[in-house]
């Protein structure tokens, strides 16, 4: 009797390993890795999905290749399902690095493309960068190779280096973008890439109102915008034309870096008794002069004048950035959020989309030169 029970137990153990299937196995060798993905609006109003799939190398020495596939569908998930009909095997997004959206689709809102990717637990969301492409995003993915590098890897490296340069900062991932679209009162900007002369270039940042793409800033502006929003990459390099006549003549192009010391930012939202709102944004930046191409020798005596001139120029630029933000209705600094939190009754009476456009911003940017390197 005892032996019988023992035998039964043994059989049970054997059966546990041999008979039961492993329902959630996903062997590495069976995975077709989608590394970058682009969503566009097709001409008939459907979603056009473009995927870069990495095909493992046939031998140890050669490197993996990539394939580009297109599919359409009513929704992103539908497009992905159709994609699985096109490609062989199981397409997985488990390691994907870049998600791109074309301008037309971005204008119609990001939630459609974000929702399913954000909610599927097997998809990574904290690392993949979210990018807006000028025109059709599938055009960029369809380049397939940039030099020797596969397009997905290229985009990933490019975005990361631009983040370090302080052109896009902070890094916007699927996670952060999705949360931003669901948060009222604060908007966001996304990296904006495009194709120029057959090259993939950074065109600046795309401005968003809620979830809708509404405008753009160029790369010069975006560098300053990063500093104005209180963030800082590793670098914030700018080059400006300098023209000073008093007391000396100083004329030439000057390059400086504003991200060597953290700028001091004073950001105040004033709510007046009559319900009007105004915003003060004062930025004290510290510049390191890196290059000057003029004929004149830079002198210590002239630095205050250069500082003054640069401050004027940057303040002017900041004003134009602010006006673009207002036109695009992109509340990047979260003024609306502040009102929701501290002046909720006032907020409820306001039509913020209208009022933001006429909001008064008092912006000043001070530049203090802290180092000139070997120039002086």
């Amino acid at each position: 009797m005892n032996k019988l029970k023992f035998a039964q137990l043994g059989m049970l153990m054997v059966m546990l390993f041999t008979v039961s299937g492993c329902w959630d196995h996903e062997y590495l060798k069976d995975i077709n890795l989608a590394y970058s993905v682009a969503f566009d609006l097709s001409e008939d109003g459907n979603i056009l999905e473009t995927v870069e799939i990495i095909v493992p190398a046939e031998s140890e020495q050669s490197s993996p290749k990539n394939e580009i596939h297109h599919s359409t569908g009513l929704t992103p998930r539908n497009a992905s399902t159709n994609m699985r009909n096109i490609i062989r095997g199981n397409m997985r997004f488990i390691k994907f690095g870049v998600q791109m959206v074309g301008t037309e689709l971005a204008k119609k809102g990001l939630k459609t493309v974000l929702d399913v990717n954000f909610r599927d637990p097997s998809n990574p969301t904290a690392d993949p960068r979210f990018v807006v492409a000028d025109g059709l995003a599938s055009d960029i993915i369809s380049k397939k190779l940039v030099g020797e590098i596969k397009i997905g890897e290229f985009l990933q490296q490019k975005i990361r280096s631009l983040e370090r340069m302080g052109i896009f900062y902070p890094p916007e991932t699927i996670n952060s973008v999705f949360l931003a679209t669901t948060n009222p009162g604060k908007d966001f900007v996304l990296p904006y890439l495009g194709i120029e002369n057959e090259e993939v270039v950074a065109k600046g940042v795309a401005l968003f109102d809620d979830e809708y793409f509404t405008g753009t800033l160029d790369t010069n502006q975006s560098t300053l915008l990063v500093l104005m929003s209180g963030e800082m990459g590793d670098n914030a390099r700018m080059t400006r034309k300098l023209h000073i006549t008093e007391p000396y003549l100083v004329q030439g192009d000057i390059s400086f870096n504003l991200a060597k010391k953290k700028p001091k930012r004073k950001f105040k939202i004033h709510v007046h008794r009559n319900g009007e709102v105004s915003v003060d944004l004062h930025l004290k930046t510290y510049a390191v002069i890196e290059e000057f191409t003029g004929d004149q020798q830079l002198k210590v005596e002239i630095l205050p004048d250069i500082q003054k001139r640069l401050s004027e120029m940057l303040t002017e630029e900041a004003d134009s950035i602010i006006s673009t933000l207002k036109q695009s209705n992109c509340d990047l600094f979260g003024v609306g959020r502040h009102l929701i939190a501290y002046h909720n009754k006032l907020w409820q009476t306001k039509n913020w989309d209208e009022e933001y456009r006429t909001l008064q911003f008092n912006t000043t940017i001070d530049v203090e030169i802290i180092s000139t390197g070997v120039l002086i």
């Binding site: 196995h25 996903e26 062997y27 590495l28 995975i31 890795l33 031998s59 990574p124």
Partner: protein
Amino acid sequence: MNASSQEMFDTNKQNVSFLQQALQHSDDLLVREITRDGNAGVLVYIESLTDASQLEKHVLDPLSQSNPTELSTLFTTIQAKESIDLQQGIKSLLNGYTLYFEDGIRRFYLLETPSHYERSITEPENESIIRGTHNGFIESLSVNLHLIRKQVNSPELTVRYYELGKTTTRKAAVIYMHNQAEEEVVRKVISRIQRITLDHIMFTGFVQEMIEDNPYSLFPQHLMTERPDHTNAYLMNGHVAIMLDGDPTALILPVSFFAFYKTPDDYNNRWMVASFTRLTRMLSFILAFQLPAIYIATVSFHSSILPLKLFFTVQGSLTRVPFPPLIEALLLELIFELLREAGLRLPSRVGQTIGIVGGLVIGDAIVKAGLVSYPMIIVVALTAISSFLIPSYEMGSAVRLLRFPLMIAASLFGFLGISFGLAILFMHLCKLESYGKPYFEPLAPLTLKGWKDTFVRFPVWTLRQKTKRSNTRRE
């Protein structure tokens, strides 16, 4: 078989024939009749166990002297006892004694004339160290005790002899420092040893299995060593050693899990170096049984944790393998175990051939043939090396065995399976006891003081001698 005692008979002839019958008329049982002072005497001894020169010098020479003396003072052997019990005579014969019977005396003499053939004291091959004493135990208990006593010349060193086995008896020694060892532990050891009822004890392993707390556990609960210095270090710390005559292995108890990861080298190296090597060994413990499981779980469930470049490389070499990762791993582990076992039993010259067959032929060809992937070879090789890093052979084997259940768990449930496997393993380790001492100390129960000499080795002056316990004991 026989009655426990048998009184001797009246005549020599009867006695001799009784002995011959008891020893099955074995051909190496020699009977030599002599005459002393006109009395007929008989010497009985087993030729193969007796030292001829001792017999001649201490027994035959005195007997042939003409002047009559009292028999009890005649023999010059180290031990000369009198007895009337023939059963005791048989026992003594088998231990190399010579028996002397004489007509007219109703007792016989047991004369110690054993022969000794001992190998020289060499360093044990499986426990070699870089610095420190290079001697090791041999197959003689008295020599082994000599090695211990020579290093520990303390009056507190206590040796207790026990006879083990029914058919053939073996002498066992329980060795401990009287002022250091805990009374409770010593009492437990002795009572367990006395309760061993095996017919014959061939190896120290028999003793170990008979007296350990958890014979069903995978983990060894006695430290086996052939090094006198290792043994002494433990004796001085209040541990107990058991040695068997004819076996060079000392069983040290009670030991904790981490004792198996210490070597005498740790104390000869500078403490920082020793700490580093010890940490490496701890890492090897983790690698030795978890690495294949982690690899299997990664490639079958959680491939997203691989960095991108590695992802492609691993995927590239996996695509050519037709088996699921578990089968692939088991295949390679099997090959490795075959090679290891084959290399172990072969003379070293043929062993090199095994190395070539294993390393070059199988290692490379198996990948080219598409049976196993390169990453798997790296994983299994690393695992194998890690398992050999463990100073104790017994623990190394245990850890090597441990990885198979973990591999199966990983292939069924991925990292979740590994977590469950580890949970069960650590539960077992925490529950395990060795003679009432927790096996997983100083981790469970957590005693931070013990950490000074567990994962790292603090300088010697900070490792305070254990005087406290001996003081309380003395009172």
